[in-house]
């Protein structure tokens, strides 16, 4: 009860601050929306080549994953500035659980992600995306879990480094290979003409299984092997992120 209450206090405060200055929420959404508007039309004539009938039903799940990854991965920057303002120390000196301090922040990122995801999917519909609503809802949940994992890892990394200058190159060097190897923009598959070595390389990228699963779900194929792998990887990543995050937040000298 106390733990849940402390998490709630932290979450409510974080949401209040995020909504008071929603610039970051909007900027976070701007990237996938730009991709949708400016890159989506290029995919439309290629729909048959990339093995789909509706380019947007193919493209929006990838953008959703991108939103989940990038939005939450950069949450650590907020934590560094909170650290600089002394807020983190002030919270750590209270009897509140240090896990609650992290969890409140993760929940903030997951909630914002939900709102952004709904907007993105709605925009997808406006562009002509069609598919299974239930599948999309499940896809959104997987995205939120992925976002939670990224938020936990990013916050923990930020608490360890305490510097934007150290954080930025690390996050960027993670983000770009993920974006390319997860097949977010174009499918990485031998069937659509990708070289075998690239396909093999991308098989080692867990996020790829999420992207594939989301594409299945959006098409309404809920109980498939692809979906199962996606769910499995989501849970693994979520568990790892939470483990790394709580471990870092609980360390006495972090």
């Amino acid at each position: 009860m106390t733990f849940a209450f402390q998490t709630w206090v932290i979450f409510r405060r974080q949401m209040r601050l995020a909504l008071r200055n929603p610039a970051w929420v909007i900027i976070g959404l701007a990237q996938p929306v730009l991709y949708l508007c400016l890159f989506g039309p290029l995919l439309k004539p290629l729909a048959a080549q990339i093995g789909t009938t509706n380019a947007y039903t193919f493209f929006v799940p990838g953008l959703l994953i991108q939103l989940g990854l990038f939005g939450a991965l950069f949450a650590g920057f907020g934590l560094v500035s909170e650290w600089r303002e002394g807020v983190i120390e002030a919270e750590r000196v209270t009897p509140a659980s240090r896990t609650a301090l992290l969890l409140g922040r993760i929940l903030r990122d997951i909630s914002l992600l939900f709102a952004q995801g709904v907007i993105l999917v709605a925009l997808g519909f406006a562009f002509g995306m069609r598919g299974s609503i239930g599948g999309m809802l499940l896809g959104l949940i997987l995205t939120m879990l992925l976002g939670g994992a990224c938020s936990a890892a990013s916050n923990a990394l930020a608490l360890t480094l305490k510097s934007e200058d150290a954080l930025a190159p690390i996050l960027n060097s993670i983000a770009l290979p993920v974006l390319l190897l997860a097949g977010i923009l174009l499918p990485i598959s031998v069937a659509t003409g990708a070289p075998q070595w690239l396909v093999t390389l991308s098989d080692f990228m867990p996020i790829k299984y999420l992207v594939d699963a989301l594409r299945e779900l959006f098409n309404g194929n809920i109980a498939t092997i692809t979906t199962m792998w996606g769910v499995l990887w989501t849970l693994v990543l979520f568990g790892l992120g939470l483990w790394f995050g709580t471990r870092t937040f609980r360390k006495d000298n972090a």
């Binding site: 206090v9 932290i10 405060r13 200055n21 002394g86 807020v87 002030a90 000196v93 006495d252 000298n253």
Partner: protein, 321 residues
């Protein structure tokens, strides 16, 4: 209230490719009794903040033990946190939040009910001259106001023991003097015990019952400000003579106060340090008078804590401050 034994903290840093252990704090003993205001004085980098962070459970000591507010630091950190307030030098509130919300949220984390938190927060705002600022954003406050807000944050759960880290650093002289009044008021009004760090001598002098001097991670002295000054440097007596020909006569009288010492002569001024000028002066003046030495002026300078620090460590506090 605080009893620390051999509290030490080592940091691993890299020098070139080598890993080097740096002793930030090398085993300090600290005793603070209930109701005391104790100052922790030392230059930047002396280990003040590191010690404070250990005592407030923010940093795990490499070795040593401590009881803070009656609880063991290592075994019952939650109970320690429950009983102490900590005002850090970096602040405690988000610039874009509202002052009142920050206070209430902070209190909620201590398990205080929202209504009590708001009542207590508003009381503290009154006491700390922050009335009317409940809805203000901290980023729009002056340096002194924001520091007082940090103090209110640290006091909202009525801690028995308050830690203040460099409370007046970066404030203008008026804001500093004003904050001193509030800090000493914490004890008289709330009965709090206060442990503060500072590198300002006047601050330690004005506020503290007792001072711990720390340098290079080691406590080099612990006493009242007056005793510290008496013990180390002594008072400076300066005699300004009306008649320059009487200089050597005056110098020998002054030198006779302390065995084996010599007075400094500089123009018409003769000066020397004595353990306690107050007790020496009456006899000295009578003796000079009997000898027919006529004085144009007499000056007594009490040693400053800077003199103390210089004598004890060979460095001036101001070089680092």
């Amino acid at each position: 209230m605080i009893h620390a034994r051999g509290l030490a903290r080592t940091f691993d840093t890299k020098r070139g490719r080598e890993k080097v252990a740096v002793n930030a704090v090398g085993g300090v003993d600290i005793d603070v009794e209930e109701g005391e205001i104790v100052g922790f004085l030392g230059p930047n980098g002396a280990g003040k903040t590191t010690t404070l962070r250990m005592l407030t459970t923010l940093l795990k000591p490499t070795s040593g033990t401590a009881t803070v507010a009656g609880f063991d630091l290592a075994k019952e950190p939650i109970k320690v946190r429950q009983s102490i307030g900590y005002v850090s030098q970096s602040g405690s509130t988000a610039g874009i939040a509202r002052a009142g919300e920050e206070i209430v949220d902070h209190a909620l984390l201590y398990g205080i009910s929202a209504s009590r938190a708001e009542r207590r927060g508003k009381e503290l705002f009154d006491q700390l001259e922050l009335d009317g600022m409940w809805q203000r954003q901290p980023k729009t406050m002056s340096g002194g106001q924001r520091r007082r807000l940090d103090i209110a944050m640290g006091l909202v759960h009525d801690p028995k023991l308050v830690f203040l880290d460099e409370p007046t650093t970066g404030l203008d002289p008026q804001a500093r003097a004003n904050l001193w009044v509030h800090i000493s008021g914490l004890r008289t009004k709330l009965g709090s015990t206060i442990f503060l760090t500072t590198h300002y001598l006047d601050e330690a002098d004005a506020l503290c019952d007792r001072i711990l001097v720390i340098d290079h991670g080691v406590i080099v002295a612990s006493d009242t400000p007056d005793a510290l000054k008496r013990q180390v440097a002594g008072d400076l007596i300066e005699l300004v003579l009306a008649d320059e020909t009487q200089i050597s006569l005056a110098a020998s009288h002054l030198a006779s106060l302390v065995d084996g010492s010599e007075a400094d002569v500089n123009g018409r001024v003769v000066s020397m340090r004595v353990p306690s000028a107050g007790t020496e002066l009456p006899a000295l003046l009578r003796a000079l008078d009997r000898a027919g030495v006529s004085l144009a002026a007499i000056e007594v300078r009490r040693p400053t804590l800077d003199d103390v620090f210089l004598t004890m460590t060979g460095r001036s506090l101001r070089e680092d401050a």
